[in-house]
Symmetry: C2
Subunit: 156 residues, 2 copies
DNA sequence: TGACTTACTACTAAAATCATAGTAACTGAT
DNA sequence: ATCAGTTACTATGATTTTAGTAGTAAGTCA
């Protein structure tokens, strides 16, 4: 299915992921862990506050603090003060954060095909009510990704 | 952008992710870490052998053993003997593994938009040579995902 | 015979994670 | 005025995971 192997990285470790030429590796620096992904999912579902995330996920507050700070630093979430007295902040999706939705859908679509069974959560268009069935295609040709061989090209 | 919040999970922790009703959470049980994602990327790039993965990723062999075993258990990779004497196995993508490519592309597409800068690895159609620019759309309407509000519905 | 390859396992140190508890700064009800 | 409740955290220590290096088993090749 895939043809060319290239040395598109050197000396990967979990600390220098963001310096890799590969965009997948570089993106995984931020969201390459399940908590960050689940926080992004919940943010898309409309959660904004610390305690909402904490209760939804059952995540330890230390973890949540660290993840929210990282996602904020990296520009996927924005910390916004919604009350001065008492000081209260909420975390809302930035444009980069909203653009992350296709990743969540791709994961969900894969899960629907290969991990469903029993009751599963589903996604709907909020206005029309029709279920969303996401496919990834090439913008130019419209061909679904995965049907044709690909080549990975190293930079320069 | 998103309207309905639902209690689509209870008592998440990193051990029971695969029992969650949410397909995203359930899928993250397998690939919710950067190493597994990078192994899947490399598998799509044509790597099959233990040492190929080890050298490409610089991953500790203990980690690699564990990840390959998990991905094999979960049906994304298949362990295949390619030599009896000496006994040698390789890891090849199953259909479920190949279906994972859109997730990698969605992550790459996000990275291209929000994390590029400097040289980056790019993806091409191996036959036509044209660059691939992946978009996630709804199969029915053809509308790009992320442009319309979504609703997340809990099971039953 | 000895160097080399492949696919690992063993071991230990370092780091991350988990759960629980506690704190700061308030609000709102009695 | 006091006291429970809320929100957004930080502190702490036990447990678990990960990283890195070294070593091993079963061969091949010269």
């Amino acid at each position: 299915m895939i043809l060319v192997v290239s040395h598109y990285q050197k000396d990967i470790n979990m600390k220098n992921l963001s310096n890799q030429p590969c965009l997948i590796a570089r993106s995984l620096a931020l969201v390459g862990d399940a908590w960050s992904m689940l926080i992004m999912r919940d943010a898309h579902a409309g959660l904004t506050r610390f305690d909402e995330f904490r209760k939804s996920l059952g995540i330890a507050p230390t973890m949540l603090t660290a993840r929210l700070a990282a996602l904020t630093d990296e520009g996927l979430l924005e910390k916004r003060r919604y009350s001065d007295r008492p000081p209260r902040d909420e975390y809302v999706l930035t444009e980069a954060g909203r653009d992350f939705l296709p990743v969540l859908f791709a994961i969900g679509a894969w899960g629907r095909k290969h991990r469903s069974g029993g009751n599963v959560t589903r996604f709907f268009d909020a206005e029309t009510g029709t279920e969303i069935d996401p496919v990834t295609i090439d913008r130019e040709t419209g061909a679904p990704v995965g049907t044709r061989p690909i080549r990975i090209a190293a930079p320069e």
